[in-house]
């Protein structure tokens, strides 16, 4: 493989990581439609899902162009197997109760906010544009999820206990967000993406502030063995894809 082809393969995989995170989380949030505790939350979660799927469309379209094999955003979303999805496994974790959904959302919103703010200065013009656009929306996502985290954590005994339990359950998955591998390093070296250590530091400050307001305790980091960014997923992703991809698998190219 020539150096240029290797670079483009690396960028393709990196853009898939970003796009798949948004797509899988957006799909997860969509499960709340018609089931949220109140109409306002139904709308809130659905609107965040819509933004995330919008981001995914931009990113997966771009991935298809980088790949240069004529695959559209839909081809990439609907015709890849589980092992070809490169989202961190946190995104695919089940919604659980409302508190668990909110905790997962805070963890990822804060990550995307810190990542996109920095990626707006990417050496890759297209990614810079997508990041600058997305960060404006992500701000509102964190405002929503963060204010709910504070209400749940600093709420009743029960809501506090549920939020703390969800935090304990999901925290180990955050390690993968910041575990820098060769691909992350190559992207940072090329100025395409920020250093994950820098994103991690900013994320930690933001999380600590929110957790403090929510009177929740930050769990300790644990060793992890998750590699969604390399296509090794938890048992949950397959079910999401089965539902999301069913129509295009059964009727390839179907349109409406």
């Amino acid at each position: 493989m020539s150096a240029a082809a290797a670079d483009s393969e690396a960028l393709f995989r990196y853009v898939l990581r970003l796009g798949d995170l948004s797509l899988v989380l957006g799909q997860r949030l969509g499960e709340w439609v018609g089931h949220a505790p109140a109409l306002e939350e139904d709308l809130g979660l659905a609107n965040i899902a819509l933004d995330l799927i919008g981001q995914a469309r931009l990113l997966l379209s771009y991935a298809g162009e980088i790949e240069g094999r004529g695959r559209s955003e839909d081809d990439i979303a609907y015709h890849r197997e589980q092992g070809e999805y490169l989202n961190p496994v946190l995104a695919e974790q089940p919604n659980g109760d409302f508190g668990q959904t909110i905790v997962r959302q805070v963890l990822i919103d804060a990550y995307q906010l810190e990542l996109y703010e920095r990626m707006a200065a990417s050496s890759d013009e297209r990614l810079a544009a997508i990041a600058a656009k997305s960060v404006k929306e992500t701000r509102y996502h964190l405002r929503y999820s963060g204010s709910w985290l504070v209400r749940l954590g600093d709420g009743t005994e029960q809501s506090h206990a549920l939020a703390q339990a969800a935090l304990g359950r999901l925290w180990p998955y955050t390690v993968e967000l910041f575990a820098e591998d060769d691909l992350d390093r190559a992207m940072a070296d090329g100025g395409v993406a920020p250093r994950l250590a820098e994103v991690h530091a900013a994320w930690t400050v933001r999380l600590d502030e929110l957790l403090g307001q929510a009177t929740l305790k930050r769990p300790g980091d644990r060793a992890h063995s998750w590699h969604g960014k390399r296509g090794q997923h938890s048992e949950h992703l397959g079910y999401i894809l089965a539902e999301m991809q069913y129509l295009q698998r059964a009727y390839p190219g179907a349109r409406w």
Partner: protein
């Protein structure tokens, strides 16, 4: 992201064509808030002619907003109806659309519809977190208002309530 160029026969020349395009675009409504035109929202970034093809730069408000597809379709239809030659609609992401680009007329129309227009965007993104709120209730002008939900009937609006007159109202978010 581009709509294929349409072949629409003989176009009028240069400047006229661009002026006619703007006239046609001035008729296109926002699908969610029809009283507003897309020009009120500042969605058209440029109109230019390149190699005989009229190119329209269109920005999405929110990346996942379903209205974007409708607007793109309506823009193409308006230009087709105006019979001003081949045209292509290009999606412009950068710089990202800002609610600051809503015109003074657009802000006035929002207010008349009972939707509070957005605060002016602050230069530092972080400052918006937690700080932003509508200036006053559009019905009774009380400043004693409360956010019910960060997301209203569309991604671009939040739902608020006035604690003086007790009426709910929408706020067009600042992005």
């Amino acid at each position: 992201m581009n709509t294929p160029a349409l072949n629409l026969g003989n176009p009028p020349a240069g400047e006229d064509r661009i002026a006619l395009a703007w006239q046609a675009l001035a008729q296109v409504e926002d699908p969610e808030i029809p009283a507003l035109k897309i020009l009120d929202l500042g969605l058209i970034r440029f109109v230019r002619v390149h190699a005989g093809v009229l190119e329209i730069g269109l920005s999405p408000t929110y990346v996942g907003c379903p209205a974007t597809e409708v607007i793109r379709h309506d823009v193409v239809q308006a230009l087709r109806d105006a019979q001003i030659g081949d045209c292509v609609v290009t999606s412009v992401l950068s710089p990202a659309w800002s609610s600051d680009w809503i015109t003074a007329a657009g802000r006035q129309k929002l207010l008349e519809l009972g939707i509070v227009p957005p605060a002016r965007a602050v230069s530092k993104l972080r400052e918006v977190l937690g700080a932003e709120r509508p200036s006053a209730c559009p019905l009774c002008q009380s400043t004693d208002t409360q956010c019910i939900s960060e997301f209203g009937s569309t991604p671009c609006k939040a739902l608020h309530r006035c604690r003086a007159c007790l009426e709910p109202f929408e706020y067009f978010k600042c992005i």
